[in-house]
């Protein structure tokens, strides 16, 4: 019942040549590496997009708050830590802070804070100045006025949103 193999057939079933194995192995490694790099890059990009998306939403919310508070006057005392906390905390009560009370001189860092439970951490900064074109002075046209201020929102030192707000008519 047992069939004996001929010499030729025994040689052909011996396995792959070294060249074949090396070729296949290198191809598989290349494929897997490409796959891994691609997946990783895509994942990183997605993560970054997710982060930027959240930053956009968050900065928009902060700007909304800065537009809702009273404009105030130059006589308003500087904003306190409590007022800033009330303004940027997680409820809709914005407190008594005014935009004028947050004003700083051109080139001077604004009010910095960190958001609790913000998954990306980092430092936020709100800078309110009379420097409309952000060139470090308040000497240009329309600059330095009490009724016109530029608002910048920065995240980890990078500008995310900027706008200008004028005092309401009395």
């Amino acid at each position: 019942m047992r069939t004996r193999l001929t010499g030729t057939r025994r040689r052909r079933w011996r396995g792959f040549t070294l060249v074949e194995v090396m070729l296949v192995t290198s191809m598989m490694m290349t494929i897997l590496a490409t796959f891994a790099v691609g997946i990783r890059a895509g994942h990183a990009a997605t993560e970054e997009m997710q982060r930027r998306s959240v930053l956009t939403v968050m900065s928009g919310d902060l700007m909304d708050r800065l537009y809702q508070i009273n404009f105030g006057t130059v006589a308003d005392p500087d904003a306190s830590e409590e007022q800033l906390t009330e303004l940027f905390d997680d409820d809709d009560v914005l407190g008594s802070i005014s935009l004028s009370s947050m004003r700083v001189a051109p080139g001077v860092p604004g009010h910095s804070f960190q958001l609790a439970n913000f998954e990306y951490g980092g430092n936020w900064e709100v800078r309110v100045t009379g420097d409309l074109n952000n060139d470090g002075d308040e000497d240009d046209s329309l600059e330095g006025r009490e009724d016109l201020m530029r608002i910048d929102i920065l995240y980890n030192g990078s500008l995310v949103l900027e706008t200008i707000r004028t005092a309401p008519l009395s």
Partner: protein, 619 residues
């Protein structure tokens, strides 16, 4: 068999490479797909962030333009910054890339701001009226204190003291006074809430004396002849009946008469008659009372007859003087001259109807005399101006084409005074501007309803029969019988030099004269389109801003621009804009003198397109 095995082995050896290639291609496709999706997501997020950023920039630009407009001077009642922009091409607000254009209704403009970040557009627009109509005030009193309570909407101001009555007052719009606030009858600073700002030390305002009556007269489509009194009745068919009366008058006339007037005396010869006395029979006239029966007179003492005086002649023998000749003697004689004198008499001429006119109830009607009667159903937009006073003699209400009134229950104080949901307001509005008093007739309906915004520049707005002196003290003036009335319901604003008084009570709080209760509703609807010529403060008035994420020139609610600064007549009045647009030209670069100092400056605006409204979506 052998051949078969060999063939099989050869096929097995040759399949490894293709399998690897297929796997590589598959993995490559999967990676490409994954990275592609990541790229799409990245673009989406970048777009979202860019639009958000562009939006806030466009808002900022709009704010700068508003700041310019707010601080602008005015010439002939027009905002210089807006006028300057309209004359430029493109019509940018100076120093900004914000475009201004007329939108049709008088003094209304649209401001459009566009910003671009990474090729993504954010845009913001708002409507602005270059003057804030006086109808913004619910109450304004220039010379006296003003007392208020409840939760009135609209601005409230007194150049003297503002008196708040009762607790829980709620004021949602600016409240101001020049001489402070006073809290009375339970009102306190703690239970009185100001949501629109409160200024108890506001500077005095001068809104009434600055009203330009000459301009109103020039702009009037109807002017009553001088010296006539008017009765104006509005009718629901969009017309106004104007009856002009020559008022009752007293005229004087002269009659010439001659009179002898003593001039001097002369000493001269005068011929005199000489008399002698003789006894003679002469006729002597006598009288006696006789009883007459029958007829009756007032003087009769009896119903059967009366006494009457009767004369008769009787001969008597008497000593009488009889002329017997003449003689001449010197004596002083008075000499008189005849003079013509003019004597003046007066007579009263009753009033007379001079003319009756039917006019469309639109435009400015100017009366130099008083409007002694004003009433009716107004289906239009009118400003009545009088150099004298105005008396509202009956209900004065807005009605639409279907006859629906603006408010419900105006004559039924037992029901709430509520806006009528069936009323279709298509520019309804009545402004009354008078130099004298504007009075509700004391003989008018007991439940009075008045739809109008009223200004008395030198008098009072109140009930007939109550006088207010220069110090703001008030009392019955005696011109009418003191009459308690049921209610007054007013829809519109009230401005006067003197304190508005419509009810008088005695020391015990009993109503002596006037309305038992009142209800006033602020007419905010007239803020956007006030009655023609109704005065405005030199202060811009903005509607809420519209923010678009769709950019310009496209569907999806993208903002639009007419391009030439001239109103497109196809555009509906305010607010209802959105939708169909047509690209017509490219915007030139702005001459802006500020920028955002980041990678995307406003220079990129030149890539923006300007669109033109060609139709509007229905609400």
């Amino acid at each position: 068999m052998t051949t078969h095995h060999l063939t099989s082995v050869n096929k097995q050896r040759g399949s490894v490479l293709p399998i690897c290639l297929v796997m590589a291609a598959g993995v490559g496709a999967m990676v490409s797909t994954y990275l592609g999706r990541a790229l799409v997501e990245q673009n989406r997020v970048i777009k979202k962030a860019s639009i958000e950023r562009a939006q806030w920039r466009s808002i900022g630009q709009l704010e700068v333009s508003k700041n310019q407009i707010n601080n602008s001077t005015y010439t002939d009642g027009k905002n210089d910054i807006i006028q300057q922009a309209l004359l430029s091409d493109p019509p940018f607000i100076p120093g900004t890339p914000v475009i201004v254009e007329e939108v049709g209704p008088e003094r209304w403009y649209r401001l459009v701001s566009v910003a671009v970040v990474n090729g993504h557009v954010g845009s913001t627009m708002t409507y602005v009226r270059d003057g804030t109509s006086y109808v913004a005030y619910n109450y304004y009193v220039e010379r006296h204190n003003l007392g208020i309570s409840g939760s009135p909407r609209g601005k409230v101001h007194s150049n003297r003291t503002l008196e708040f009555f009762f607790s829980d007052g709620l004021y949602q719009d600016p409240v101001s006074a020049s001489e402070g606030f006073l809290y009375l009858n339970g009102a306190t600073p703690d239970n009185t809430l100001f949501l629109g700002g409160a200024d108890p030390v506001c500077g005095t305002k001068d809104l009434l004396t600055t009203i330009d009556f000459d301009k109103l007269k020039t702009d009037a489509i109807y002017q009553a002849a001088p010296g006539l009194e008017a009765e104006v009745t509005f009718t629901a068919d969009k017309q106004a009946r104007i009856d002009l009366y020559e008022p009752p008058s007293t005229i004087s006339y002269s009659v010439q008469t001659t009179k002898s007037v003593y001039d001097h005396s002369e000493f001269q010869l005068v011929t005199k008659t000489k008399y002698t006395y003789q006894w003679r029979w002469v006729d002597v006239q006598k009288s006696r009372l006789v009883w007459v029966e029958g007829s009756q007179e007032v003087s009769a003492q009896s119903t059967d007859g009366y006494w009457q005086t009767e004369t008769y002649v009787e001969k008597e023998f008497k000593l009488v003087a009889v002329p017997s000749g003449t003689y001449v003697q010197w004596e002083w004689v008075d000499i008189y001259t005849t003079v013509v004198e003019e004597e003046w008499f007066t007579t009263t001429i009753p009033e007379s109807l001079v003319s009756t006119e039917i006019r469309d109830s639109n435009g400015i009607f100017y009366f130099e005399g008083r409007i002694r009667s004003l009433k009716g159903e107004l289906n239009g937009k009118v400003t009545l101006v009088s150099d004298s006073s105005v008396k509202v003699t009956d209900n004065l209400v807005y009605v639409d084409d279907d006859g629906d009134s603006a408010f419900l229950n105006g004559a039924d104080p037992s029901q709430d005074y509520l806006p009528n949901p069936d009323f279709q307001r298509l520019g309804h509005g009545l402004g009354i501007v008078a130099k004298g008093d504007i009075l509700y007739s004391a003989s008018g309906p007991g439940s009075f309803e008045v739809n109008a915004s009223m200004i008395s520049t030198d008098g009072v707005v109140g009930l007939e029969g109550i006088s207010v002196d220069d110090d703001g003290n008030f009392a019955l003036d005696g011109t009418v019988t003191a009459t308690p009335l049921e209610s007054l319901r007013r829809f519109g604003s009230l401005m006067s030099a003197k304190r508005p008084i419509s009810s008088l009570v005695d020391a015990a709080g009993n109503l002596l004269h006037g309305f038992q209760e009142g209800d006033s509703e602020y007419d905010g609807g007239m803020m956007s389109t006030p009655p023609p010529g109704f005065p405005s403060e030199p202060m811009p008035y903005y509607l809420a801003s519209f923010i678009s994420k769709a950019g310009l020139g496209g569907g999806d609610g993208g903002l639009t621009y007419a391009g030439t600064g001239v109103w497109d007549p196809q555009m509906n009045p305010l607010v209802e804009e959105t939708a169909l647009v047509e690209v017509i030209e490219f915007m030139d670069d702005s001459d802006t003198d500020f920028d955002w100092g980041s990678e995307n400056t406003l220079d990129s605006l030149k890539e923006c397109r300007i669109a033109k409204v060609v139709g509007l979506a229905a609400e």
